[in-house]
Every structure is written in C-alpha cells, then in structure tokens.
Amino acid sequence: MKKLLALSLSVIMVLSMVGIAAADDGVVLKVVAWDVNTTTYYAAQKEAFEASHPGITIEYVDVASQDYGTKTSTMLAGDDTSDIFMIKEVTDILNWNKAGYAEPLNAYIERDGYDLSGFVGMESGYAFDGVQAGLPFRSDFWVLFYNKTLFDDAGVAYPTNDMTWEDYKDLAIKMTDASKGVYGCHYHTWLSAVVNWAVCDGVNTLVDGEYDDLAYFYNLYFDLAEAGACMPYPETQAAGLHYSGAFGNGNIAMLPMGYWYVSSLISNIQNGTYEVKDWGITAVPHKEGVPAGASFGNLTGAMINAKSANKDAAWTYVAWLCGPEGAKATASTGNRPAWVSEDVASVMSSVEGFPTDEASKAALLPSMVSIEIPGVDHASEIKTILNEEHSAIITGEIPVDEGILNMNDRVAEVLGK
C-alpha cells in the first residue's frame, strides 16, 4: 500500500516537473474575475487603465460566479500563474494568504508611498497579521431601497435616513395591502439580509462566538411575517424568488439590500423589464443606541498572485484600480468603489437613472460601515454553521433561543473555547 502511495505521488511529482509553464511576454496581465461579460465595471476599468498605461494590456479570465471559490482555489493549488485574482469573499483571500498564494503588498505600498487614506480603514479587511494580502476596489454597504410609487399611492411619507428598526416595522405594516398584493418589505433568504444588522454597532461581529444579539432581528422578522408584511421565508426559498424580481415586480414597498443592486436596478428600468419606475434609497434603519446611518458591507478586491511573472506590472494595475482613478471608472457604472471622496460620490450620484432627491444622495455616505464577516481563522466554517442554524430558525423549525444557543455552542467548538 505504502509503495503504491509513493509511486502515485512520484508520478504526479515527475509529471509536474516536465510541465511547461506558460510564458508571459510581460505586457499582458491575466486577471481572473467573475461575471466579466455582465458586470459593467470591468470594461470601464480596462478601457480607462489601458488608455493611461500604454504597454500594459488587461486580459480577463472569466469564471462562473457561483463556483468562483472552488475554481480559483483549484487553480491556485495547481500553480496557476495568472497575474491577478479578484477577491470575491473575504474568506477567499484569508485562505489564499494562509496558503501563500498572495503576494504581500506591504513592500510595494512602502516603496511607492501609496496613499491609503481614501479607504478610510477598509483595507484592513484584507490585512492578516500585518500582511496586506490584497486591496479593495469595490465596497458595497447595505441601504434601504423603496418604491416611491407605492408610497405616493398610499399617501404615506417616504422612509427617512434616521429611522429605527421599530419605525421600519410600523411603516412596513402600514404599507402592506393584501388586497393589492403589496408587501411592506421583503427579506431575501440570506442570513445577512435578516440579522447581519447586529454588527452595525461596530462592536459585535459574526465571528466572536456570541450570537445573542441576533435574537432581536429574528423576532423583528417573525413579527413582520406574522403581520403579513413580508413574504414568509419558506415560500420565498421554495419558490426560488429572487429579491431583484420581487422588487422589480413593483409590489414591494421596502427592500434592505446591498448597494450593488443600484446598477442592475437602473439598467433593468432603462431597458423596460421592471414594473417599478420610481425608487429611492435611504440609509438602513438603526437599532436604539446605534448611530443613524450605520451599515455593514463587504469588500471586493484584487490580489497579486505570488507566482505571477509580472508582479510589477500587476502592482501598477492594482494600485491604479483601487486608487482614486480606478474608483472613478468603477463609480461611473453605478457601482460603489472602496476609495471614497467627494469626487467619487458626485460621480456615483450623477449616474443616469440614479434618484435625484437629496435623501438618496445623502444615503451614499453612511456614518459607519462594519464588515459583514471579518476574515479571521475559521470564518468559512463559522459561516456554514450560522447558515445552517439560520435556516432552522427562520423556517420556525426550532425556537429562536434554541437556534442561537446552537450557534453559540457550535461556534465555540470551532474556536476551541
């Protein structure tokens, strides 16, 4: 048996030595990303970068978004030499950094005196034990989308940037009109859409092993579901109902969702596939004791492959992409860059189709953004546990308290507490 193992291993080893490494000519940067053809900002970024940096060409490698983690992990484990990998989940970069796939950026930042101020500290989401494993170029925090037409029809005032969750609940119940099939609000099936609000205070995180604060938001959801103000979870899940279709159909008054929804909302209204016509955004509601306008969000970024043969060119691109110039290119497509400044915000609000009211513009600058799930050891296992217990709680299969007790127990086990 042992001989057999040794033999098979050596076959692989030998084969990997005779392998031919793809030779790059130093000017074409291979950038591994997802949804390349449908995400608007890739083309804008490429165009703007190539115009200002002759001699470097960006070539995207498209990977299906659903399987981005699986495929990129396999590619990297198999010594892929693509120069840049886009970072989809913070847990991805965490694992890539641990495995040594990520080129640490600290030396480059120091050498060039690269300015990090525009990230307002968000770059720390990709820093592990002082190693800057990547830089963010997009940052999506959560906002509250609402359908202005429904509010106008009902003669109810629009949601505001300083609502509490209690105000939100009252408003959602008020806006519900079963006879017209109008729901006051809509929850997508993700854990983050229902209870991630607990991290908005900047103190709680989803990886600390203490989940008692989630109870408030579960109870809020159950109150709303009982009042008929939102579609119950089992139905949403079984029907495979996507939030975009739900809101797009025009019978949802309010939808808490990530900022990324803005660009697809705009384009779907423009090409006439959505019923909803007039919409606005506000800051997500806050809990008593948490400042108004506090939200949570996640980062999208870029990592330089430690096996890349063009690291300097790759750094040139990453530095540009994540910095103010790249930010403008990203913002011009209705997306929210990680680098924020007055300029960038004005680019975002001047995108055609973006609501023109002042409240919506104000919502672009949240008072505080916490990270959805920070990249710490065991983050992906914790995420699995939370999702499993979440599905048991929200279907009503186990009481909220029991589910939260399970979360506490199981995560403590993973953390070795």
Partner: protein, 290 residues
Amino acid sequence: MAQTGLSASRPVRRADSVAATVGRIALYVVLICLSAVTLIPFVWMLSSSLKLDREVFEFPIRWIPKVFHWENYSLIWTKAPMLMYFKNTAVVAISVTLIQTMTSSFAAYAFAKLEFRFRDTLFLCYIATIAVPWQAYMIPQFIEFRSIGLYDTLLAIMVLQAFSAFGVFLMRQFYRGIPTDLCEAARIDGLSEYGIWARIMLPLSKSAIATLVIFTFIGTWNDYMGPMIYLTSENVKTVQVGLRRFIQENSSDYHLIMAASMVSLIPVSVVFLTLQRYFIEGIATSGLKG
C-alpha cells in the same frame, strides 16, 4: 400476449382477454399520469424560456406567459458565443462516446469472460473510484493535468470522461448475461478471444452499446463540473459552462438559461430517440415467433 392463450380453452381465453383489457387500461392511466407529472418541469422550462427575467419566479406560476418573448431564443446567440460552445461540446461528447464505447466494451469482455489474477480486485478498483466524490481528488488530478499540459484544452475533458469506470461496469454486466457456452463453442471452432469479442459479443450486445452511447453522450453533454474546473478560455468552453454566464452574482437571467437549455436538449433528444429503436427490435421478432 397471444401466444400464452394458444393452448388454453375458449372460456378461459375470454376471461383472460377481459383481464388483459382492464390491465391495459390501468397501465395507460398510470403511464399517462406519470408522464403528465414528468412533463411539468419541461413545460416550466419552455414557458420560462419565453418570459422576462422577473416573471420566471412569479408565484403562483403563470404557465402561459403574458407576452411570448421569442426574442430570448435569438438573444442567447448574440449575448454569448453559444455556437462555439455547442461546437466544443459536440467535439467532446462525440469523441468521448467513441473512445468510451470502444475501450470499455473491450475491457469489459476480459472482466466478464476471461480468468486472470487480480481480476476481481482490479474490477473493485474501478467501482471504488466511482464512489469517491470528485472534490476529494480534484486537486491532485488538476495538478497532474496541468503539468502534462492538458489544462484548458478540450482534450482534458475527453480523457477525464472517456475512461470512466461506468462504461466498463455496464458492459461487463451485459456480457455476463450472455451464456458462456457460446464462447466455449467458438473457442472450439478455433476463434481467438478477439474474434469472439468482435463476432459474438458485439453483435449480441447492440442494446447494451446503445445504452452506453446514450448515457455517455448525455453524461458528457450535460457535464458541468469537469469543464468548469478544466476549461478557462472562452474558445474552449462547453455549453453547460457557457450557460453559467447567464447566472450572475446578484441576478440571474433564468429566461435565457431556460431558452439555452431548451436548445441544448435537442442533440440529446436526437441521440436518445435514434438509439431507442434498439430496445424495440427484440419485441418485433418475438411477436412474430409467438
């Protein structure tokens, strides 16, 4: 049916035929119900392929779209290089089917009808590998493929699929059903083992080969994980991987996915319908004999 009644007396025959008619009606009722249930997803696919994106998951289901969006079927060709995906998939599926059918029916003969050391152990190895989830050995396999330069080539998918254990196992079982006397007789007549395989086994296993061709072709045509991992460049992607470009991180064009899935069903159905006559011919001859 008729042949059983030949020796029976008249009254029994009448009772038989009444029972047979009742049985036949019951059979049809069951088959029709079953088919109806089976067709529901198909109808859903068809109707979704003619809707707008946001209408696909409307609840309750609207089986007949408000407006028929036939343009979805032209959109899929312009929004993605579907033609190229189809070509790639066809190349892979046809070559895999050829290699798989040839090599596995060949190997299966040895496993079914010849005696040699380690035969059963070797065979168990084949079966064991089917049992291991691909994720477990994906990385070692990927490293191997990459190092011999197969990564990002259609050849990778061909070798991945063509030597699967499935075909050997299927053919072995069919060969086992063929009486060994036939082989013995042929050996006495001086046929070599290769001759027995070519002249006796192959002609007798037409229906088995038809089955293998159907399953291999469809399996390769619909395979997603293999091409997803091994094919990266646009010009080598297959239909199933290409379809994923309609599923995005935060929204999905299910109407286009369903339209493309409908189109992708055509070759598969053609293969099935052409080959299924091999499951009928036997009936025709038996009917004549009765």
